[in-house]
Amino acid sequence: MTESYDIGAVQDALRRLAAALRGEADRLTELDQKVGDGDLGITAKKVADALDAHAAEGGDDLGQYIAAAGMAANRVASSTMGTLLATAAMRAGKVVKGASALEPAQLAEMLQAAAQGMAERGKANRGDKTILDAIFPAAEALRDAVDAGRPLAQAGQEMVDAAAKGRDEVTPLRSRIGRAGWVGERTEGLVDPGCALCVVALASLAGLEEYR
């Protein structure tokens, strides 16, 4: 028996993601206040509302459905993170266009497309201390676990662990891009808000809500 996600499971995942973003909004704002303009919590809440609204509607084509969730997020949040999250969802949806159920290999492919989309959209490099430093290791970990045939629950745990490890590895570094790039030296030792959001988001998708 292969594990697989249908529309109901996707809707549940969106709702878990929305709840997590909303729950962590204040912490994300605090982190963004230190290195940016402090609007990341607002973005998280706006995106959460859009995802909840989207989850209330169904859809046959899961690819289009997930891409449309990205569009919905961008419609309410055009900040950097709003745009990156929208791009991620649109790219993830694109690779499974036409699917009515998603299997583990597809999930891994989707996360890689999402990471790749964020990289193309933001034109940042790994090591610039952005969300890329969390999402790329996570995508690689998920792909490796799925390729090795490990169960989805364990693969999810490995994905989130990798994201958190990526986040922590860049914390001592200096931000090199976006608003935080202007703050320079003072960002050393501070958690990148985008990385923090990435861990929260992936944990909720994997059903590991307590993970931070």
Binding site: M71, N74, R75, V76, A77, S78, S79, T80, G82, T83, L84, A86, T87, M90, R121, G122, K123, G178, R179, W182
Partner: protein
């Protein structure tokens, strides 16, 4: 806050509503009230030009939508990018079958959203090209000029590329004109006061009376240096020197000069600044083809000014002089 508005949440939509009420023959909404297009869009058989960006800079951006300039503009919240979908809405409405050129300032959120809009437009078989404005010499050195912010210099690109499109040119040709214009355009500003985003309700930074920040960005991004306010002639000299040294025009070149007010600076003061700039420009052996003195790109109620100089060849000079009619800008 010494300002007029109702609810900070409806600041931009109230403003746009008033704008379309004021100029119903010139401007229209797209599906989204943040999409503003020429009332006669699409102009069939013409390359369409679009821009977009945060509110709070009028006439930038949507003030340049009209005959001979832009076809549409996506309008974000104050100092915030519009969404990709709003840009797509504009793009769809203005496309006249010959492609669309995006010209906008170099800000992260705008770039990402315009890129996203481009991808979506291409899925609908609309050809989109992008020219990014990065004219602010204070924001990065010449070695990383592509990282510079986009400020008032974009108006020259709107004008020349808009005139080229109006003359029936192809997307390639219009894009080339925008690039050529911007390759010869440099700006720098000086701020004497902060401004206030209505939803924030207080200034984003302090700038005391008697202080000036040379090189400050139009959202209050830190400048090169904070100093004691100097005389108009000294300020003009600082700006002109920085802009001209970076542009490095040859003696005998023709230029257009824009002395732009950021919001609260009276036009009288701008002419006092312009007077000295004019002397310096002529002192370098350049000739002023045309001067633009007034408010072309603002930051709400910020006091301050920016200088933009654009090097012209015969074609660009002719395109600057070509007719244009927008609610905020007329030529010829």
């Amino acid at each position: 806050m010494r300002r007029f508005f109702n609810n900070p949440d409806t600041y931009v939509t109230d403003m746009l509503d008033g704008l379309v009420k004021a100029y119903p023959k010139a401007l229209a909404f797209g599906d989204d009230p943040h999409a503003i297009v020429r009332a006669d869009a699409p102009v069939e058989g013409k390359v369409a030009l679009a821009t977009g960006g945060g509110s709070g800079h009028l006439p930038v951006f949507l003030g340049y939508v009209g005959e001979g300039m832009l076809d549409g503009c996506a309008v974000g919240d104050v100092f915030n990018s519009p969404t990709a979908e709003q840009m797509l809405d504009v793009t769809r409405r203005i496309h006249g079958g010959k492609g669309v050129l995006y010209i906008y300032g170099n800000y992260g959120g705008d770039v990402m959203n315009f890129d996203m809009s481009t991808e979506m437009a291409e899925m609908e078989d609309i050809e989109v090209r992008t020219v990014i404005v990065a004219d602010d010499v204070a924001s990065a050195g010449p070695d990383e000029a592509e990282r510079r912010r986009g400020v008032a210099g974009m108006v020259f690109a709107f004008k020349t590329a808009g005139a080229k499109a109006a003359a029936g040119a192809s997307l390639d040709e219009v894009e080339e004109i925008a690039k050529r214009t911007l390759a010869g355009t440099r700006s720098m500003g000086v701020a004497l006061s902060p401004c206030i985003i209505p939803s924030v309700g207080k200034p984003g930074f302090d700038l005391a009376e008697g202080e000036m920040e040379i090189g400050m960005g139009i959202h209050g991004e830190p400048g090169a240096k904070r100093e004691t306010l100097q005389s108009a002639d000294e300020v003009a000299e600082r700006l002109a020197t920085a802009v001209l040294d970076d542009l490095a025009p040859a003696s005998g070149d023709r230029v257009a000069v824009m002395m732009n007010g950021l919001g609260a600076t009276p036009p009288e003061d701008l002419f006092i600044l312009y007077r000295k700039v004019h002397e310096i420009v002529e002192g370098r052996g350049l000739s002023v083809h045309k001067a633009y003195v007034g408010e072309y790109a603002t930051s709400m109620e910020m006091a301050g000014a920016s200088l933009t100089i654009c090097r012209l060849d015969d074609e660009l000079a002719g395109l600057l002089d070509a007719p244009a009619r927008t609610p905020f800008f007329q030529e010829g």
